[in-house]
């Protein structure tokens, strides 16, 4: 079967790629688009290591067909930092040792960013339930939850100072 031509936007850049109709978005990201920051831990939507956003909606890219990105805005871990400037979540993960092996880190950061966009002041319980779709086997989640909450707090404080 002929490959399908897809026109989309990845991390704010217009992008075109070819894929099989059955390819997942994760296949396309890791294959033709060479964005290997999104990881495949299970290919069944259970681990969240491939988390991306499509039009600001958090999804597992292993559960989405690549052709479904046509005309939409995709964001991945590679688009989280602005050039040399890390996203506050990335900085906080580094400072608070909220990563060990790093295989879940891309997905954790994308999911945490999606949470803070939706809910800038989450409780611990809200963070824990939001991130329940992102498995981490190294950290016991403690430092991840703390890093997300502290980032939220800092962003809130900045917001208050700005007004």
């Amino acid at each position: 079967m002929a490959k399908v031509h897809v026109t989309t936007s990845i991390n704010g850049e217009p992008m075109e790629f070819l894929c099989e109709p059955s390819d997942t978005m994760l296949d396309a990201l890791r294959g033709p688009l060479a964005l290997t920051g999104s990881k495949e831990g299970c290919a069944s939507g259970d681990c969240g290591a491939c988390s991306i956003t499509i039009d600001d909606r958090l999804v597992c890219s292993c559960l989405m067909l690549a052709v479904e990105s046509e005309g939409h805005e995709i964001r991945t871990i590679e688009g989280l930092a602005q050039g040399e400037k890390l996203h506050p979540l990335q900085q906080k993960f580094l400072e608070m040792a909220a990563l060990q092996c790093g295989i879940c880190t891309s997905g954790m950061l994308v999911a945490s960013d999606a949470l803070l966009r939706k809910n800038p002041d989450p409780t611990e319980e809200e963070v824990r339930f939001w991130l329940a779709g992102n498995l981490c086997r190294c950290t016991g989640y403690d430092k991840i939850v703390r890093a997300v909450m502290e980032t939220a707090q800092e962003l809130q404080n900045q917001e208050m100072r700005a007004h």
Binding site: R30, L35, T36, G37, S38, K39, E40, G41, C42, A43, S44, D46, C47, A49, T76, I77, E78, L80, A81, L86, Q90, F93, L94, E95, M96, A97, L99, Q100, C101, G102, I103, C104, T105, S106, L109, E124, E125, V127, R128, F129, L131, A132, G133, N134, L135, C136, R137, C138, T139, G140, Y141, D142, K143, I144, V145, R146
Partner: protein, 757 residues
């Protein structure tokens, strides 16, 4: 208790050297790399738990367009059983060659029988289906009790136990005193039998590799493992390619926990690459990981403890049967050797039995065997303490191993920190806090302790000063927990420079000297020894260079704050020479500055921990939740406290999963029925509370920075701590893991039967 130091970097929560790559998606894990001309490999696996392989016909697969190579066991170097063991570390190559590819028999569902390389993954998968395997299906057993029945199907006919063919493939014992005499002195004796299920290490990154074999045989392996040297050696053994021709490059490793201390794919991909002349990439699916790699053993343990009225343990007997899976090698050493070790018990017999059965070969899992044994022992100790009406921590203190105690597995303890962990647990805010009202749910608190041996062994490091006066440290151990961060702290401390000027990398097998596995909680212990000695050599060179420039004696030069200074006013008046200045002058003053050290490191002290756990049980739904947890551990010296805490917290989370949910479930046909993260349920973020850590620092006197291994101890006490807490909540004790909702409901609904038993 904490060390008083004026360290600048040791003990600081610095940014890990590999962190930036990991938070930006740049880090290259095993499956993240490609090579020009790369093709894909796939494995055909046995659908049967036990079957003789009469023949394999690969001709149809070979003819499929796109297929470039097929391999079977005929291509793998054989290690005949009758010729005896060929050991690589704790692995016998006779079993490894049969584990990576079944020879005469397939021994578990998922056992590889052939592998194919093709231009796409889809073609490789299709080709696997075209391989015709003629199986003679045999009876099988998976559970320990089934494998030990007199008429059980025998996996390895050559193996005899008590003179008869048997699935018991090994036994060890540790003995001290005379248990018969000991139990006679006891006022109370409690004996219980426990079972645990196989659980997987659960690393999120599936096994993967990318391998190129050039026409001259030069082989490049890109894979993630807990030891690039292990990958090189095993691949060399199983393919016949000399180690000097194999460059094994360690990718970032997406979790291992012991499960990546052996190879699965690398020998197959190497042979496929050699046959096809193309680089071959292989990536396991999650299902393959669950069916064919790890897990750790399921177990059956019987523990008997006798104590006097005043709370002294006078005798103990433990019998630990552990599933090895398809080939010998279950972690009976950890179960039998660690479980009683926190205690000074005059009369002790601890026995381990290694039992083969038709499931995947066990792989190491964080303190292999020790959590299984500790679960049984620490639950019985809880019962004994209750019967004696003693606080469980006081009971442990009364019987605690201390400096001078002879452990049953051999050593006489040097200064150890076990007592301090119990005392810290006892005086923790957690232990003093009321349990609180569960609002209809039942709450309970449990405690438990644990021990792990910790390892030393071979490590190599090279420390080089760059031409601009900064530092590159190359070590030989994959970093699974933050060891690079610890090494940067230590090297910066010794050189007296900012830690950001020290770049720590993991070398490949052809660029750094032999370094044994990342395992046994040995990496920071061992690699900081070789890095320290290398750095000290460099400091000596720097002093000599400064002395030469100043025309004074090297002994009159001291190294401080990243620069050479005259040691005293008598040495002369000179402006300090910084590392940058000495690096700049290096070409004229004797050449490049660097040093490498290789050691078989000794002096790794065992580690102890004591945990406190609160649970809340929903009696309607049978759901037990851990609501508060404190892990206390003697960590020697926390070089990077953030990553030491990370080890404690991660170990505890794995133990909570093992206690409450995780288990391999098998179908009636002997296949794993839950080979994915949906049905094999590891703890998710919303399952857990914050995990508090109390780091007790009793420095290891045999290590330059006082380091003790910390990675494995934190899993050891957890299942017992959770089980003891659930007992405290319900007044009923589980003797089997996991304590999952259906099992909790079953116990709560059957009160009379429980009493009748």
């Amino acid at each position: 208790m904490n060390l008083v130091t004026n360290n600048k970097w040791i003990g600081q929560r610095t940014i890990r050297p590999d962190g930036m790559d990991k938070v930006t998606g740049r880090a290259q894990f095993a499956a993240d790399t490609t090579m020009p001309g790369m093709i894909w490999g796939k494995v055909l696996r046995s659908p049967h738990p036990h079957a003789r392989i009469r023949s394999i016909d690969t001709s149809k697969a070979e003819k499929l367009p796109g297929v470039k190579a097929v391999v079977t066991s005929k291509d793998i170097v054989d290690f005949p059983i009758e010729k005896g063991a060929v050991m690589l570390g704790i692995q016998d190559m006779r079993w490894m060659c049969r584990n990576v590819m079944a020879r005469d028999k397939a021994l578990f569902p998922g056992h590889p029988v052939a592998a194919v390389a093709a231009t796409t993954e889809a073609i490789a998968e299709e080709a696997c289906k075209l391989i015709e395997v003629d199986y003679e299906v045999l009876p099988w057993s998976i559970e320990i009790d089934d494998a030990l029945k007199p008429d059980a199907p025998i996996l390895h006919e050559f193996n005899k136990f008590d003179g008869k063919p048997s699935n018991i493939v090994g036994r060890l014992e540790h003995k001290k005193g005379d248990i018969e005499q000991g139990f006679k002195q006891a006022d109370i004796v409690i004996e219980r039998t426990f079972t645990t299920r196989p659980v997987h290490q659960g690393y999120i990154e599936p096994h993967a590799c990318l391998i190129s074999v050039a026409p001259d045989g030069k082989t490049t392996i890109w894979s993630s493992s807990q030891g690039q040297f292990m990958v090189r050696a095993m691949t060399a053994y199983l393919t016949g390619i000399p180690q000097s021709d194999i460059r094994a490059i360690p990718a970032e490793i997406g979790g291992g926990f012991g499960g990546k201390t052996i190879v699965y794919l690398e020998p197959l991909a190497t042979l496929l690459a050699k046959k096809s002349g193309r680089p071959v990439k292989m990536v396991m699916t999650r299902e393959e990981v669950m069916r064919a790699t790890g897990p750790t053993s399921g177990s059956k343990s019987t523990v008997k403890v006798g104590a006097t009225k005043d709370g002294r343990i006078v005798a103990a007997h433990g019998t630990f049967y552990l599933q090895a899976g398809a080939f010998p090698g279950s972690p009976i050493r950890g179960a039998a050797g660690c479980s009683f070790t926190p205690y000074d018990i005059p009369n002790l017999l601890s026995e381990g039995y290694d039992v083969c059965s038709n499931r995947s070969k066990v792989a190491a899992y964080r303190a292999p065997g020790a959590p299984i044994g500790a679960y049984a022992v620490e639950c019985v100790l809880d019962e004994v303490a209750e019967a004696l009406k003693m606080d469980p921590l006081d009971f442990r203190l009364k019987n605690a191993a201390r400096e001078g105690t002879k452990a049953a597995h051999g050593p006489v303890f040097p200064r150890i920190g076990y007592v301090e962990t119990v005392e810290a647990a006892k005086s923790s805010p957690h232990y003093a806090a009321p349990l609180g009202d569960g609002n209809g749910k039942l709450r309970g608190r449990g405690t438990a302790s644990g021990f792990w041996f910790n390892a030393g062994g071979e490590s190599s490091a090279q420390v080089n000063i760059t031409e601009d006066g900064n530092v590159v440290v190359t070590t030989g151990h994959p970093d699974i927990g933050g060891s690079r961060a610890g090494i940067a702290n230590i090297c910066a401390e010794l050189l007296g420079i900012d830690y950001r000027r020290v770049s720590v990398i993991i070398g490949d097998t052809q660029t750094v000297g032999f370094s044994n596995l990342t395992g046994g909680s040995r990496v920071l212990f061992a690699s900081s020894m070789v890095v320290t000695q290398s750095t000290e050599k460099i400091i000596q060179t720097l002093r000599e260079r400064a002395a030469k420039i100043w025309e004074i004696d090297p002994e009159a030069v001291k190294w401080e704050n990243g620069a050479a200074h005259p040691a005293s006013p008598n040495a002369g008046q000179f402006e300090p020479l910084t590392l940058e200045e000495l690096a700049e002058k290096a070409p004229a003053m004797g050449g490049p500055i660097g040093a490498g050290v290789q050691l078989n490191t000794q002096g790794a002290d065992g580690g102890f921990g004591t945990h406190v756990c609160d649970v809340e049980v929903d009696v309607d739904l049978g759901i037990a939740r851990v609501i508060r947890y404190t892990a206390v551990q003697d960590v020697g010296r926390a070089i990077h406290p953030g990553y030491v805490e990370g080890q404690l917290q991660g170990g505890v989370a794995q133990g909570i999963g093992w206690a409450l949910n995780e288990e391999y479930i098998y179908t009636k046909e002997g296949k794993v029925d839950n080979p994915g993260f949906l049905d094999y349920r590891m703890p998710v973020c919303s399952d857990l509370p914050m995990i508090d850590c109390i780091m007790v620092e009793i420095p290891n006197p045999k290590h330059p920075q006082g380091v003790k291994g910390v990675g494995e101890v934190p899993l050891v006490p957890v299942m017992a701590a959770v089980a003891n807490a659930i007992y405290d909540a319900l007044g009923k004790r589980f003797y089997a893991l996991p304590m999952s909702p259906p099992k909790v409901v079953e116990m709560l609904e059957a009160p009379t039967r429980q009493a009748a038993e």
